[in-house]
Amino acid sequence: MTAYIDLKLYATLKKFSPPSPEKYPVEPGTTVLSVIEKLGIPKNEAKLVFIDGIISELTTPLHGGERVGIFPPVGGG
């Protein structure tokens, strides 16, 4: 059964966005890491992962229905 997540990619990661990021299909139990691998996002750029607004690990499993935000390291000023 396919579930969907609402995926938000920020800054340099935007270019990896799938066609409908707000309804991105995932297999329940899949991890954020496998999502970024599938999208071709370099692991060292996926530094900050938020699931439903809470900082999370790349290994966190997804069940569908989550809002997933991925932010690269930014340091400019």
Partner: protein, 286 residues
């Protein structure tokens, strides 16, 4: 000078006026503050504080009212804020904090302006290329609000000089462009038991957080990254002026709330701003 004598002198120079909602107040014009500063053994800030203590508002702060109370404005005038980095974020922060009436600003930057700063750094001008950012900041503050005291350091903050530069600050504002230096500043702020407001950006995206002594703060955001690489993806995206300006305003908002001990702080939270998609989201770091 006795407080009552001072109050009478200030009262004699105050005038009655109206807020835009037609409620009355007593105001004191900037030229009167300047005249009193010349004739009294007091700083302009001390005169402005004395005025406010007697329910007289220096005109330059009238539009801070009634969002601010007399006591709020006094608290800000008695405050010292250190701004580390006087580039994009720092330029906006200096502008706002001088106008809002922070009594003392510690301005730290060892850099000089270069042409690539002109897209976003409010203190940079075509004629100022090659000149000190700290001096430009001091000159700008003087032009905006000559009551504000400035202490400038035309050198980069490091582990050795940092503690003494920041010793008098009530709040430290991180306007740096290096992740490693940010982490160092957090360590110094923590040792000095000072609150710190931090922001960083790349392109049209950025983040803001507020760190109180003892908090994990930036280590929750950057982790070991901070030790390994001083820069983030701004290397490829640059820094856009509209994002820098929004983020510098958000930093100032946090500074004011810390100083007034009022309002919701971004403590253990990261406000993520993305102007491309118009996302403003508060993420929980704990």
């Amino acid at each position: 000078m006795k407080d009552e004598n001072l109050a009478n002198i200030i009262r004699s120079r105050a005038f009655k006026s109206l807020f835009p909602d037609d409620t009355p107040y007593y105001g004191l014009a900037s030229d009167q503050v300047a005249t009193l500063e010349k004739s009294l053994p007091l700083s302009a800030i001390a005169i402005e504080i004395a005025a406010l203590e007697n329910d007289i508002i220096p005109e330059r702060y009238v539009r801070n009212f009634k969002a601010f109370s007399y006591q709020d404005q006094i608290a800000l005038l008695k405050s010292t804020v250190a701004i580390i980095g006087l580039g994009g974020l720092g330029g906006g922060v200096v502008e706002i904090l001088a106008r809002i009436g922070i009594g003392t600003l510690i301005l730290i930057d060892g850099d000089v302006f270069e042409e690539t700063n002109l897209n976003r750094q409010m203190l940079s001008t075509q004629n100022g290329i090659g000149t000190s950012k700290a001096v430009a900041a001091q000159q700008r503050v003087k032009k905006i609000n000559s009551s504000v005291s400035t202490i400038i350091y035309k050198e980069f903050l490091d582990e050795q000089n940092g503690p003494s530069m920041l010793a008098e600050a009530n709040v430290i504002v991180d306007c740096l462009d290096s992740i490693t230096t940010r982490l160092m500043v957090q360590e110094i702020a923590n040792k000095l038991q000072k609150p710190m407001v931090s922001s960083a950006l790349a392109g049209a995206s950025g983040q803001v957080t507020t760190i109180l002594p003892g908090d994990k703060g930036l280590t929750l955001i950057y982790g070991e990254q901070a030790r390994q690489s001083s820069t983030g993806v701004e290397k490829s995206l640059g820094c856009l002026p509209q994002a820098v300006t929004v983020l510098s305003a958000l930093e100032c908002s946090e500074v004011v709330k810390v100083l007034l001990n009022r309002g919701a702080l971004l403590r253990n939270r990261l406000l993520i701003v993305d102007l491309h998609s118009n996302d403003f989201e508060i993420m929980h770091l704990l």
